[in-house]
């Protein structure tokens, strides 16, 4: 466990080095959040009756999305890791007394947490300062808020497990770039990046909700806004848990057998 925390600290430190990048990223996210809000505002004002969620819930969704972008953006790939798998140099990891999958998981979690840690605060603050219904308001009861926090953690695990599954696939594929490009696009569409899932047409929406991508930003962000009512939370989080278990199991198994293969092939 200690090696994981040491690693974690290193990452956070490395992330802090890029102060200008963090500041810049934050202001970009603020502008993008504002543009999204303005856009949906136009639709909301034109016909509130066709709006599939409350404007307040949508505003909460957008500000949390901007603040915690690093939690679920699949395109934060760790290219050095993919490269290590591809070239076979990952076999050297066997010389360390740690489990490869656990190490990867720690890396992935640390990367995303450190990126979000620097940016989230100010964005949430600005979101909270905006007037209703365009600002970020806490309108849920404390127990629901607790569920939101757990769901955020679950999302982070699902996202990391998904990326690790792709890394482990590159043991077997000559070029994982295609899978990665498709994943990014699918996660954007089915995960609620292009538009929040309630805005998708029937059929596609139900499919998206059940897919692993639907277990990412979709659930915690909508719990916070109250769009998923308290009675729907257990089922939603159950789905997250289900995908977390499936993705971790698959990723761990593939990593173990892939590593064995890499050793036999001699890198």
């Amino acid at each position: 466990m200690k090696q994981y925390t040491a690693f974690f600290r290193m990452r956070l430190l490395a992330g802090l080095q890029y102060r200008s990048a963090a500041l810049a990223g934050m202001s970009t996210q603020l502008v993008w959040g504002t543009m999204e809000i303005l856009l949906y505002r136009a639709f909301w004002l034109s016909d509130p009756s066709r709006f599939p969620m409350g404007m307040e819930a949508l505003a909460a969704y957008i500000w949390l999305q901007q603040a915690f972008l690093a939690f679920f953006a699949l395109w934060y790939w760790e290219w050095d890791l993919v490269e290590a798998v591809k070239t076979g140099s990952v076999a050297y990891e066997l010389t360390r007394p740690t489990d490869l999958y656990g190490m990867w998981m720690a890396r992935a979690l640390a990367l995303r947490l450190s990126r979000a840690a620097l940016r989230a605060g100010p964005i949430l603050l600005v979101g909270a300062l905006l007037p209703a219904p365009y600002g970020l308001r806490l309108r849920i009861a404390p127990p629901v808020f607790l569920a939101f926090l757990c769901s955020m953690a679950l999302m982070l695990v699902v996202v990391c497990a998904y990326t690790l599954l792709i890394y482990s696939l590159s043991f077997y594929l000559t070029d994982a770039n295609g899978v990665m490009a498709l994943s990014v696009a699918a996660a954007d569409l089915l995960g609620g990046g292009v538009v929040p899932l309630p805005f998708l047409p029937d059929g596609l929406r139900q499919f998206a909700q059940l897919s692993p991508f639907g277990a990412m930003q979709n659930i915690p962000l909508r719990i916070f806004g109250g769009d998923i009512p308290p009675e729907g939370i257990p089922a939603a989080m159950g789905l997250q848990l289900f995908w977390a278990v499936v993705l971790i199991t698959a990723g761990a198994l593939l990593t173990r057998s892939g590593l064995r293969r890499a050793v036999i092939l001699g890198g």
């Binding site: 890029y18 200008s20 990048a21 810049a24 990223g25 202001s27 970009t28 502008v31 993008w32 543009m35 303005l38 856009l39 505002r41 136009a42 639709f43 034109s46 016909d47 066709r50 599939p52 070029d175 770039n177 295609g178 990665m180 490009a181 498709l182 990014v184 696009a185 954007d188 569409l189 990046g193 292009v194 538009v195 805005f199 998708l200 047409p201």
Partner: protein, 257 residues
């Protein structure tokens, strides 16, 4: 020009060496903007129209912005990715060759994976025309061309600012995304939809609305004819961009990296 074509042919040759990964990155680039269009379509299917625009009219609007950004990204990639040109010391190499600095930079990188996006823009344009978004006249066709070309020039100017700032910061400023990647994303709707404030900023400060919102009003018979000439006015924006670039080069040559 002949030299540029020579560079272009070498870029094509290089790209074809890794055919599979070239096609995959084409696909990746394309899926992003296809998703963007799907987002517009889902919302319009639900709401019918927005601010009086129909889906074919929005497709026209998005096609203009997509074509302009893709052209600029394809040919001015050396400016867009200037931080990497600097960090790999390729800028020093450019300085020791007897050709224009900016010209060599444009030759340095040509992003051929933008081609599918141009195709998407063309398809959206064709669909929008066949769906009768606009009552076409010869003048309107000219204005449409102006919108795309001046738009590309405008993005070129923005990339130039981005590159010039790299001389001072040595890393790419993510803030510039607001004005480079941002408009491609938000230009899918006419800028007027985001409210008066945004529209005026994009008219007077960073004149993107001069190649999108205002001339679009003319194309859709919602505004007077002189709106169609506004894209030409936007070219004035290139003056401060070039000035900043010159300043950046001077700074680099007095401080090194």
């Amino acid at each position: 020009m002949r030299l540029y074509l020579k560079f272009l042919s070498l870029h094509v040759k290089s790209a074809l060496t890794y055919r599979a990964s070239f096609l995959l990155s084409c696909l990746g680039q394309l899926l992003v903007t296809v998703n963007t269009f799907l987002g517009v379509k889902f919302l319009l299917d639900r709401f019918g129209t927005i601010a009086g625009y129909t889906l074919p009219q929005l497709a026209l609007c998005f096609a203009v912005i997509l074509a302009a950004t893709s052209l600029a990204e394809c040919f001015a990639r050396g400016l867009d990715a200037f931080a990497s040109v600097l960090s790999e010391a390729r800028f020093d190499r450019i300085l020791v060759r007897p050709r224009g600095i900016l010209f060599q930079l444009l030759c340095e990188k040509i992003k051929l994976t933008m081609a599918p996006r141009l195709l998407q823009a063309a398809l959206m344009l064709v669909w929008s025309i066949s769906a009768g978004a606009v009552q076409w006249t010869a003048a309107k066709a000219v204005v449409l061309t102006l919108m795309i070309l001046c738009g590309a020039a405008l993005f070129f100017g923005l990339f130039l600012i981005n590159a010039a700032l790299c001389f001072f910061t040595l890393e790419s400023l993510e803030v510039m995304n607001i004005f480079t990647d941002g408009p491609r994303e938000y230009g899918k709707y006419p800028f007027g939809i985001y409210g008066k404030g945004v529209l005026w900023i994009l008219t007077l400060l960073v004149p993107l609305a001069l190649v999108q919102y205002w001339p679009l009003q003319y194309l859709l018979d919602r505004g007077p004819g002189w709106y169609g000439l506004l894209p030409l006015l936007s070219l004035l924006f290139l003056i401060p961009c070039t000035a900043l670039w010159r300043l950046g080069v001077r700074h680099y040559r007095s401080t090194g990296s």
